[in-house]
Symmetry: C2
Subunit: 140 residues, 2 copies
Amino acid sequence: MAVTEETLSIGTVSARTGLSAHTLRFYEQEGLFVDPVRRDSAGRRMFTHREVEWLRVCVRLRETGMSLPDIRRYVELVRQGPGTEQERFALLRGHEAKVRRQVAQLQESLGVIEAKVATYARHLEQGTADGLWREGPECD
Amino acid sequence: MAVTEETLSIGTVSARTGLSAHTLRFYEQEGLFVDPVRRDSAGRRMFTHREVEWLRVCVRLRETGMSLPDIRRYVELVRQGPGTEQERFALLRGHEAKVRRQVAQLQESLGVIEAKVATYARHLEQGTADGLWREGPECD
DNA sequence: CTACGAATTCGAGTCGACTCGAAGTCAACC
DNA sequence: GGTTGACTTCGAGTCGACTCGAATTCGTAG
């Protein structure tokens, strides 16, 4: 298999990850990359495909509410190399559990909202919506 | 049915909704109550059961990411009374749709995280975790 | 009568994650 | 050789939703 040593500008990486160039610089500053980001002769960042892959993971971690310090913690473990796999695994599993709880809570809240929507639908359909101007158990 | 005119102190409401007393005052200030909150002779807030119910809904709306201005918008419609039901309905349905998208996205991200966890589990089990110190497609 | 705890108001502070802007550099194209 | 446009650094600003603290006032229990 061919080793792709192709490098990507910050603009390209921005387009491919959905993160702004500003944010990419910020992430570098926050220590979210395992290796120092390489530069060209003019000092411009040159990203690798591998870094783009990692950024895609970062996006998922962020979307699920992992904080930048927590991501950095993971990166630090990776940086230390072999021997930290157990801890990395625990970290990821912990986050996975958190996300599951998030999903459950969101769905529970969604249920409440759906119920309210259903109430409106019913009353609007029956033309009894006038009774809906206040909240409470009697408005169900 | 008996009309319950029992009133609740801010501390009680705090306990029942999970919102701090500070937050309850803040919400009042932000216009999240349909009616002005009543006060006792000493100027202390007296909440009703109905308001507690509404606050529980608010908690769900907040948990699902509805902004305070958006909640206020809904409250304003309720305050205007009958005639605004369609708009309230649309508002709630719009939010419901947003929450569904949130759930979907969260689950998608969860899938990515689960995959990563599974990779670690496999490699740790097989004792091949040494190859896991870098990110990328080849580390799957 | 005094002490206490639970309220009150108001304004300021915090937090995380960006987001922006200014001033400058550099390579490439016309 | 000048303009363009993407990049650089750095520090400051923004945003939403609280969160806190100080100073004060009440009503009740001892």
